[in-house]
Amino acid sequence: MEVFDIFLLEAVLNGILLGGLLALLSLGLNLIFGVIDVVWICYAEMIMIGMYAVYALHVQQGWPLLAAMAAGIAIVALLGALMHQFIIRPVLSAEPINQLLVTGGVLFFLQAAATLAFGIEFKNLGVKLPPVAIGEMSFSMPRIIAFVVAVAGVAATYLFLTRTYIGTAIRAISQDREIMPLVGVNPGRIFVVTSALGGSLAGLSACLLVLQYDIHPAIGLSFGPITFLICVLGGLGNMLGGLIAAFIFAQFISVGGFVLAIEWGYVIAFVFFIAVMFWRPQGILGGK
């Protein structure tokens, strides 16, 4: 009888690597929802724009990869700020369904814009990194990089939110919007900063995903829905809940995919999601 299955361990470790990336994906969306109370349905499409930005600057313009990535993060951060200023701000006090439809409109706009600019062919950076072998286990290098950078990104966001005054203001405004101006804070500016921060997290995610996946205009659909499910599973707007949910989800996908078949990993993860929604509709750590 087999006591220890090395490939099961490999699946668990791969799940942890995937969890770090999913945690980063959910963080930006959760941050924006938690502070501004609007769900950016187009969040994954902003990541797609970031991936194309890195591709265009590195492959087409010949920039060094790291410079292209830094610019990509800045571009999506700016996109986030513009998104708030011109799309969200006018509908801030509108019905939630209207806010949802507006950001849904942006989703289709970004997909169409990317198709016009880059066509529907799959693009990639052409960067090939060798896998890392540990004993009989093998891990993809981009996944390891993605995990390390994602964890660092999450930690940096945490430090920003807890150690700076603007971060404190971001946490405070999610609790009581009306009081903020009375202590001299302009909520509009905090919202723009939050949106830019959410955008920069999308940009960082884009840099990590572009190392692993081909880019095409509909790529948002392959990780957008799962990002939303993770946010809802953890409690929409609850950043800690999102991090926990990301690692749980990743284990279902990775280990489930190993025990049965890759497609089954997602099926099991979604069944788990539905079960949790019956048990705790507000999510694992959701309050409302």
């Binding site: 005054y165 609790q175 009581d176 101006p181 009375l182 202590v183 001299g184 804070v185 302009n186």
Partner: protein, 252 residues
Amino acid sequence: MLEVQGLTKRFGGFTAVSEVSFSLTEGEILGLIGPNGSGKSTTFNLIAGLHAPSAGSVRLKGEEIGGLLPASICHRGIARTFQIPRPFRKLSLVENVALAAFYGQLERPSRAKAHQIAGESLNLVGLPIEESVRVDGLGAAGLKKLELARALATQPKILLADESLGGLDHAEMEQAADMLAMIRRERGITIIWVEHIMGVLMRVVDRLIVLDHGEVIAQGKPAEVAHDPKVIEVYLGTDAADVQKTVADRTA
């Protein structure tokens, strides 16, 4: 230093504040009293910028501030507390107050300076200044103090103190009155104090304004107001004798 002229606020067909006029002299404590729903809190919201006036003007040292955004009014030196304390519950005490110290002035202080101001404000109201103290452990009186500390941290020249909802016992109300008197003494801050229980307030205020249904029905020194027949009729009723006695004790 503050001139309120013909201040009016209508919500649809309902006039919450009607033609209210008064002036505030530097260094005084002005009591603003009236029954529930008489327009006291709305008057505060108009001065602090949470509502835009329907008509009338609010001038701070000659400059019109009516209709400005609350953040600008805060930067000009007017702070407001709420009858029901509204702290940021997920932040520590120090974070609550330091946030106000940092953003409360147009010229942002350094991190260290903001932290120092927060410590001084907490100290003044008698709350702990340790980083780790959370809001959740505070009782009603503690939350009121935190509300005051946060307002003080914005370094106001005028404090709008809304104490109108009781929730405090008699001794705690006395303490609250003493604290406002102390704040004026220590910081030289001019105070408008909203209250609907007249007794305690009479001991501390220099002048009083009485609102009823959004209109000023009386204003003057505590002794004058306590004997005003109109105030006795709509407001004091059978408590008139008690209130008059408080005023008499104070002057004695």
